[in-house]
Subunit: 424 residues, 2 copies
């Protein structure tokens, strides 16, 4: 299908036409291309931006949004989250994933990184809806004497990879995951590092999210979690580390040396009382930083424009410097850095030849005008309700309040029924 | 006019009918009232909440949204804001106020506190649109030898009060304002304190927003800005202090002793690199804390639900304690504490006899379900795009995307034309 976007402001290009042929961007330019198109998109008052990346979430936890609030972390986990997860079923994971994807599509997200279990359900939701994702089965291990290769979680990870990696036209990738240092024994970490090394995949790992976790590792192993993963060979594979609130300067040097990606989850880190990731230092060191929402259980929405704004103003406040990081840099965190994190080199920006991941925002709205620069509008005044169009790999998934690949009323109804029966 | 809201969840009351007679709430209860109504409101999937209060803004600065970004505070002020304000006209203030009010109505705000100049223009915008506001002419003074009562800014304050206080059926109140300690000489402060003492009004003052301002006062007067205003008699009048990022423990005791209101502006304080107000300490001391957006020049939106969410997660992160302040307390900051700050004792909560300031949120949306508790939904997952209804003093100002008292397209068009000519 050949689609033409009428001339409008395109992030990074000024006033342009954009044409899409199939799943890729075929033209960007000042002059209207002299061709036939199957569809002409009205872009009046619209800002065209690349699709956004949510590089850390657990979409299956959508059913726990608002379930445990205003509790200390240990009570939240032990009284609310763990008992609920203990009763998790494939059905819950599918319905939660569908709602999570509906929310993300509506919020202009084109791709997400997901770490959980019953991942085949999330995979099917990704396939059905036209989203992109890097998903992984999160491995935990507590018995240092087990045989890692016989571990059910590792086997599920392997099976997920075999069944789904690069499926749905490459929209779905399968990563490997160690949940975290404190939820794994060293033999499992080393085994996974060795197994995955050289494969076409990445790791997704929680790293130094809380002070207790970070200090606990130093007490146990005499090294930080970052150094622990490095010494076990994990960093020989491209790795995405979520949170990194408590990493040291030396840890950042290790992360940079191995080209790891750090995922900043400002809302979740604040809401759970974990702290604030040292973003300015990370960026000064040249680390690839992307943005994540974490799950709705600790956020409580899957909204990368919210994280983008929050990351920006929070860092200015923490640095006590409104000029510490420029708006353009924040846009990269939500777009091209996310694509890099997910190993999607032909995505994350609006360029000819790239995958057509294109969103439009209605910026002629009372919360956005007047407009001096589209980048300031996107970072400082726009919100996800301004997103009126979301195209992923050339397929329109959302347009003017309507989804094309999912039934919004059905997704909402099923979640409400699920909540009634699960918490009866 | 008699209006009935069909039975639905009402914040603080559970499942109820709510009836409005004229400008007040006439009934809240489980049973459908046996009366005739002029209008029945469909409340399916809606959450009813009290209207929100924005207790610190400068609506006339709406035309400067996004004009100066990513600059150090002194360059932002001296290169961008001050030169633009120097060319300010009544026309700009009116058009900016109209856009600001349109944005606030759309975001569920029923009343705002505003500090600026050419205030008669803001007053007219308030009158026309049906909003409520406490407005004031901000006084600055730099000559210790001037006669305060001959000062043009003081005269304008007095005139504004005489012309507009308690106008538009009491919707509009006029406060007095000293811009800040660092922008005034002590004789003016003392004169205003004496003049206003005993009058039916309040002060609005910027206090200890930046570290430089706070320390500068101590160097100059050997007391903090709070103690400076106390010793000059300002606190004999009800006073609203905006920001208060750098106040000391002793300052908080003074604020509590005099029943002052503190307005927390988390987004603006972060974005300008000023820091974070010590909210937990303030609340522990029993100080009345309300929420404010500050202006769109430093925020960049007038969205109290955003400030509410931000205040909540920021404080959990700063306290490193997700349980430090409960969601119910945050709702108070945005509602009843705001009404107290504006001296509107019959407002701020949904109670029989109170002014009918009622908003509805469509909570059957992909960003809110499942719902475990309406208060968690409001504080942690809802956003201003879920607001679908805004009634102020019994008058519906906004319903399902449409304004009743202003022409949205005209307001937007005039701002865009203004921007073109002003910055030509």
């Amino acid at each position: 299908m050949k689609i033409l976007f009428e001339k409008t402001t395109v992030m990074g290009h000024g006033e342009c036409y954009v044409a899409v042929d199939g799943e890729r961007i075929s033209y960007i330019g000042q002059d209207r291309p002299n061709e036939e198109f199957d569809r002409i998109i009205d872009t009046r008052d619209k800002l065209i931006c690349p699709g956004l990346y949510n590089c850390h979430t657990h979409s299956a936890m959508q059913f726990l949004r608002g379930y445990g609030e205003d509790l200390p972390l240990d009570r939240w986990l032990n009284e609310k989250i763990f008992p609920a997860e203990d009763r998790l079923t494939k059905e819950i994971v599918y319905k939660s994933s569908m709602l999570a994807i509906a929310e993300m599509i509506r919020n202009g997200i084109c791709s997400f990184s997901d770490m959980y279990y019953f991942c085949d359900q999330t995979a099917e939701a990704v396939g059905k809806t036209g989203m992109k994702a890097n998903i992984c089965r999160s491995i935990v291990s507590f018995d240092p004497n087990m045989d890692p290769k016989e571990d059910s979680r590792f086997k599920e990870s392997k099976e997920l990879y075999d069944n789904y990696h690069n499926s749905f036209g490459g929209r779905l990738k399968v990563d490997f995951s160690l949940h975290a240092e404190y939820t794994n024994v060293e033999p499992m970490v080393r085994f996974c590092a060795d197994y995955v090394r050289g494969m076409d995949t990445s790791f997704q790992i929680h790293l130094s999210e809380t002070e207790n976790e970070h200090k606990g590792c130093i007490e146990k192993y005499n090294v930080t979690p970052t150094a622990f993963f490095e010494r076990n060979g994990i960093l020989d594979t491209p790795t995405t580390f979520a949170h990194c609130v408590w990493v040291s300067d030396e840890d950042m040097d290790i992360l940079k040396k191995h080209n790891a990606t750090v995922v900043h989850n400002p809302a979740s880190n604040l809401k759970l009382g974990s702290g604030v990731m040292p973003l300015s230092k990370m960026l000064k060191k040249g680390i690839n930083v992307a943005l994540g929402t974490d799950s709705s259980a600790s956020n409580n929405t899957l909204d990368i424009l919210k994280e983008l704004y929050l990351a920006a103003i929070l860092q200015k406040g923490i640095d006590r410097d409104p000029a510490s990081i420029k708006a353009e840099e924040y846009v990269k965190l939500a777009t091209v850095n996310g694509a890099k994190c997910q190993n999607r080199p032909d995505s994350g920006s609006i360029e000819v030849g790239n995958k057509a991941d294109i969103i439009m925002l209605d910026v002629d709205s009372v919360n956005n005008i007047p407009i001096f620069s589209p980048v300031y509008t996107l970072v400082y005044s726009a919100n996800s309700s301004n997103v009126c169009f979301n195209m992923v790999d050339g397929q329109i998934l959302y347009e003017n309040g309507e989804y094309t690949t999912l039934d919004e009323e059905k997704v909402k109804y099923e979640m409400k029924e699920l909540k009634k029966s699960f918490f009866a």
